[in-house]
Symmetry: C2
Subunit: 308 residues, 2 copies
């Protein structure tokens, strides 16, 4: 219910700042249980949490939804479907099966926003590692891999529509184009979404992944105009990169991203949904979840909220 759900009145922290649109993606407190993550978000005065599928699978969708709602929070999104680039018949069938389950889990846990990370090249051995020794030229064919993503979205869209779930395409930073996601820009995500109803295939703006894009302002405006802006995720681009670049994200304000400008573009595009903070970083993960959630609220209040 990111873009259209009810707002919790009075979800404010001590200073009276309205944190009702501030959501804690539970990956930011990776080592917390669902109950601990929800407690941390509620204690910090946040309005929502973003969940991951393993939490829904662990508790069952109904119980996971109740853990969240009992704390007075909403589910802003579910991460994640995707991994659609296989070019063999068994791989395609497995991807479709898994994504149908993800769609059911999103519906069951009470969010209509299911974030998709679409997967890397078939040449990949495993994420973050080099190509398979037997990878041929076709396994490096990025154009073909992107075309298969389009085909798989077409396969899944009717099932998502039936379940009231939106496939939310996430562009990942080009650093991950080989091994995690062949969608590399917001504009490309919008092109892939274009053939489908805006209520069935949307896009998410994640600052970490798209902040550098010369076309970002135009693509955010287009996403708003087309009714596809299904989420806004924030975290910062910090340097030096961590040894595992996937886990190299910083709290909002600690890095290079111009949050006032990007947040203004998102607001001007008409987005009135939740703002999820999603940070992958070992030091953040080693911090007490309540401290992390409080920092998330403070940074949102300082760098994002005034520009929404």
């Amino acid at each position: 219910m990111t873009a259209s759900g009810d707002r919790l009145a009075g979800a404010t922290h001590g200073s009276g700042t309205d944190l009702s649109r501030c959501s804690l993606n539970t990956a930011t407190v990776k080592h917390a249980t669902l109950a601990q993550a929800v407690d941390a978000a509620a204690t910090a005065g946040l309005g929502a949490v973003g969940l991951w599928r393993h939490q829904v699978q662990e508790h069952g969708a109904q119980k996971a939804a109740r853990i969240v709602s009992d704390a007075g929070l909403r589910v802003s999104s579910l991460c994640r479907g995707g991994f659609l680039t296989a070019h063999d018949e068994a791989g395609v069938a497995a991807a479709l099966d898994d994504n149908r389950r993800a769609i059911e889990e999103a519906a069951g846990v009470g969010t209509r926003e299911l974030v998709f990370v679409v997967g890397g090249l078939p040449a990949m051995s495993e994420p973050g590692r080099g190509p398979r020794p037997d990878a041929g030229p076709g396994d490096r064919d990025l154009v073909a891999a992107r075309a298969r993503v389009a085909d798989r979205i077409g396969d899944l869209a009717p099932f998502a529509a039936e379940h009231g779930v939106r496939i939310v395409l996430e562009a990942l930073h080009p650093i991950f184009a080989a091994d995690r996601a062949v969608i590399s820009t917001l504009g490309q995500a919008l092109d892939l979404a274009a053939p489908f109803d805006a209520g069935v295939v949307g896009v998410v703006v994640d600052t970490y992944h798209v902040w550098w894009d010369p076309a970002l302002e135009a693509s955010i405006a287009r996403a708003g105009r087309e009714g596809r802006l299904a989420g806004y995720q924030v975290c910062d681009w910090i340097l030096p990169l961590a040894a595992e670049p996937l886990n190299s994200r910083g709290h909002v304000g600690d890095g290079y991203i111009d949050f006032p400008t990007v947040s203004r573009w998102v607001a001007e595009a008409g987005y009135d949904g939740d703002v999820e903070t999603e940070i992958f970083h070992e030091e953040v993960w080693a911090t007490d979840p309540r401290d992390t959630a409080r920092t998330v609220g403070e940074r949102y209040a300082r760098h994002v909220l005034p520009h929404l």
Copy 2:
């Protein structure tokens, strides 16, 4: 003379494969002297070398040019001008001064292609490191930094034209947008070049930096149509990234990039200039320069030449 220079007849290696368009960028053999790098390229049967300014400064332009021509090679390009994003008066003046010297050096050493890496955000402390502690929101303003790059190109273009040198804009991978280059796509480089004569401001396609771009085919075709395709540099995207991501490039064929497809796009755009291999990697730098140059030629012959 990348795009228009004479071809050396008979620059072939033992097997008869024509390596006359294969150029060794001397950064690939970082620890070699200019004489050693030239010897390695000539011994491997390559047709050209790409130079760096420190080599020209060390020997003087005339002597550096003679070291190259005495070995029967051409200079395919000079790296590099740029670093144009300063927003203080002294920083702007220093950048203009330095780039005028670079333009003179390019003319002196006999290439008209001067590669520009345009610099990162003013918030940067030093490349690869976090923002300055005193960096304010304006120092993270990417839109403004890009506008300053456009202004500085305008300042330098007449001087380049007078010297018969082309400012060759290089889009760097978005991993470097914060700290090294706010030009992140080939399309953006072409937009920045658009106000100027194609003989004065051009672009280079470096596979490492642009391979992931969904608009790559269209942007390469546009560069050809506009007469701005001033260079083609190749090296591979390998994983895992090195601790210093700048030095994380692989020999052609060792990573994820689809060289047949990108090389075909470059050829179809009408490019008939040199193909520089430019690799920053500690292991490559630790290899004997003659071995590295031979590998460069072999990989070019296998993965690039058949598609040109």
